[in-house]
């Protein structure tokens, strides 16, 4: 009789999620968390926020239990959710984001198209000033130990007239302000045959392909290819990007995971 054991989620070979060597290093790296319809990555993001702030990962890794205060300045930028959404979600991880001093939330969701970008058809300068503002907020944080999350920046490609290269350039600038940048993007229906540069499909596909080429880590979350299962939510694939980490290696693995209605997470090797 075989028994299956829960596995701890690890992203690097030192059994960590965000290693100390990256946070304390001098290089800037970017990682992509891509997801498909049906498997939202919120649980993973919450765990990464927790790990970034205090080095623990209560729900996905039982070995990371020692809390480390003042580990890094964590900045979260979202284009599709407000702070309340993550504050509620992180309570399950034992963190109250409203009281953590090392956490900064930049809301690019609530008034994105009412105040920040008023004319989406001529948005280039407004997007530039938006990213300048983001860079200023991140730079104003003391120290160099900074981890930045940016969620759904591709909405700018879909909703405005900016090009994929412009957005990638902004993200590159943003990456330089921190040690580790996590870019969370949906990769539904990319079309490599799209040919018109003004077409949002082309822009998003181009953005995604180029982003993959300059990333160091890729975490892909997707539903099971074999279809729906009651006891498995989806699969999570950790793979390294073309730009390697200098100090550490990515632990390339494929997991399958199950999330219950109570937000309990179980991971298994595939």
């Amino acid at each position: 009789m075989t028994t299956t054991h829960n596995q701890d989620l690890i992203l690097f070979e030192d059994h960590s999620l965000i290693p100390e060597s990256i946070i304390s290093g001098e290089e800037s790296y970017s990682a992509i968390i891509s997801h498909l319809q049906g498997t939202s990555p919120t649980w993973l993001i919450n765990s990464l926020i927790e790990n970034s702030i205090q080095n623990t990962a209560t729900l996905v890794n039982n070995d990371l239990t020692v809390k480390q205060t003042g580990r890094s300045k964590t900045i979260f930028i979202s284009f599709i959710n407000n702070k309340d959404y993550y504050s509620k979600g992180c309570k399950k991880n034992g963190i109250d984001l409203n009281t953590v001093t090392d956490f900064t939330y930049i809301d690019c969701f609530t008034d994105l198209f009412t105040k920040r970008i008023k004319d989406p058809s001529k948005a280039s300068s407004q997007v530039t000033s938006l990213f300048q503002e983001l860079n200023e907020v991140i730079s104003s944080q003391t120290g160099s130990r900074k981890v930045v999350f940016i969620e759904a920046p591709e909405i700018l490609l879909r909703a405005t007239n900016i090009t994929s290269n412009e957005l990638l350039n902004h993200l590159l600038q943003l990456n330089k302000t921190c040690r580790q940048l996590f870019i969370i993007s949906a990769k539904d229906y990319p079309d490599l045959d799209a040919a018109m540069p003004e077409d949002p499909v082309f822009k998003v596909t181009d953005y995604f392909v180029k982003l993959l080429h300059r990333s160091s880590l890729h975490i892909s979350i997707q539903p099971l290819l074999t279809g729906r299962a009651n006891d498995i939510t989806g699969s999570l694939i950790v793979s390294k990007g073309p730009i390697s980490y200098k100090s550490i290696n990515v632990s390339e693995k494929e997991y399958i995971f199950n999330i219950t209605k109570d937000s309990n997470i179980k991971l298994f090797f595939r």
Binding site: Q37, N82, D188
Partner: protein
């Protein structure tokens, strides 16, 4: 020897109520079971939710929970409103659409079943304003369509013709007369004599505390052959015209929301956008991604801003904007829940009609595919259910049930032949 009912606990005394389990651990609240359970149980999370310290604004939450049009979600205890179609409420798993959330109804083919659901959603909002005199509990905002759209709102379902006759008889019997009184006493005694073993009397008393008594005005059943009478007034419903600047539409909608909430902060606001981007209503400029995506994105922001008041249902035709198009996939990302209505093609319809030719009430019209459910999909749960449910749009209601391929009854002639052979 004595008779005892099977379900009765030996040892006498009143049977413990399943709805309020006693916690085995001191200091902890009762363990609340999840999922579709007896209506009695549903009261417990409701009251707990009101007192929950997690709520952003306790007073706001308490105010909205006092609205008879609102009940707590079965899963998250968030304030939830009915969509006007009870079966849709069930498959959304919250027993409705949680406030502050949105639903996108996608429809394949050239049919317009989604408008039935949308109109029921509007009718439900209007009906909530008729619960108590001089008190409005709900307001509906319809965007994009002219006011004539609301002329066809479905009216309340009054039962089948048989039931209506029965209701008339019951009404006559309820009138005070000597013969009625004597009949009632006699029948009451018979009930006691015969039914005590089957616990019928207990059932009747249990219903008093059931779902219907707690949230009796939460939802109604609508009949698409009836018109809502009297029709909605300007206090029930507002119409917003679509203009090329999405900022203007948003400010109009927000103006109405603010005005309504100023009158009564416990009001629920139902925003409806029928046939999104349908060329008969929307000009081509509205289909530009620089208009529609910022518009829906800003509506999402409004939903979060008025999380205890506003909810949104929109419908879109997949023949014009297929699911694998960039626009629809972006919209699916921005909406909190997505349901896809997929009417059967002609061959399938013919097969079902053939299979159910003796039972026309069983004929379904299409599949209901669940793509995204409010809150649960966001949490990371895989909620895609393709081809597991089917809908039928009957006079009685918009019914959604589990789908099973009908078995064609072809063996009748063969059976007859067989019996003849056996006789030989």
């Amino acid at each position: 020897m004595s008779f005892r009912k099977r379900s009765e606990v030996i040892g006498g005394g009143p049977t413990p109520q399943r709805g309020a389990p006693v916690s085995p651990i001191p200091g902890r609240g009762p363990v609340v079971p999840r999922g579709p359970i007896s209506s009695l149980n549903r009261q417990i999370p409701a009251r707990d939710a009101i007192r929950s310290p997690q709520s952003k604004s306790k007073d706001d939450l308490e105010a909205i929970m006092s609205n008879p049009a609102v009940r707590p979600s079965l899963i998250t205890s968030q304030p939830t409103i009915s969509t006007g179609a009870s079966d849709l409420d069930k498959i959304l798993l919250h027993q409705g659409l949680p406030l502050g959330h949105s639903l996108l109804l996608e429809e394949s083919s050239t049919t317009d079943f989604s408008s039935v659901v949308l109109r029921a959603f509007v009718s439900q909002g209007v009906m909530h304003n008729r619960i108590t005199k001089d008190k409005l509990h709900s307001h509906v905002i319809v965007a994009g369509v002219p006011s004539q759209w609301a002329n066809d709102l479905p009216g309340l379902y009054k039962g089948s013709s048989k039931e209506q006759k029965k209701a008339k008889i019951a009404e006559n019997e309820s009138k005070v007369s000597v013969s009625n009184l004597s009949n009632r006493v006699a029948s009451g005694r018979n009930d006691l004599k015969i039914a005590w073993r089957y616990g019928l009397n207990q059932k009747a008393s249990g219903e008093e505390f059931g779902e219907n008594s707690s949230y009796e005005n939460y939802n109604n059943q609508f009949d698409i052959t009836q018109k809502l009478t009297p029709g909605p007034s300007s206090q029930d419903i507002s119409f917003v015209r679509i203009s090329p600047n999405f900022g203007d539409i948003i400010s109009q909608i927000e103006g109405i929301i603010k005005l309504q909430l100023k009158q009564d902060p416990s009001k629920t606001i139902r925003l409806v956008i029928p046939s999104l981007l349908n060329p008969t209503i929307y000009s081509p400029i509205f289909s530009a991604p620089t208009f529609i995506i910022p518009f829906i994105h800003t509506l999402r922001a409004q939903l979060r801003k008025y999380e205890n008041s506003l909810s949104l249902i929109a419908s879109i035709c997949l023949e014009l904007y297929p699911r694998d198009s960039s626009l629809t996939s972006t919209l699916e990302g921005l909406f909190d829940s997505v349901i896809h209505l997929q009417p059967f093609n002609q061959e399938m319809s013919q097969l079902i009609e053939k299979a159910y030719k003796n039972e026309p009430a069983k004929i379904q019209q299409g599949l209901v595919n669940i793509i995204k459910l409010p809150v649960l999909s966001e949490k990371g749960l895989m909620m895609i259910h393709d081809g597991e449910y089917a809908f039928k749009n009957g006079r009685k209601k918009f019914e959604i049930e589990e789908w099973g391929i009908p078995v064609e009854d072809v063996g009748k002639d063969e059976e007859q032949q067989t019996t003849k052979n056996i006789d030989f």
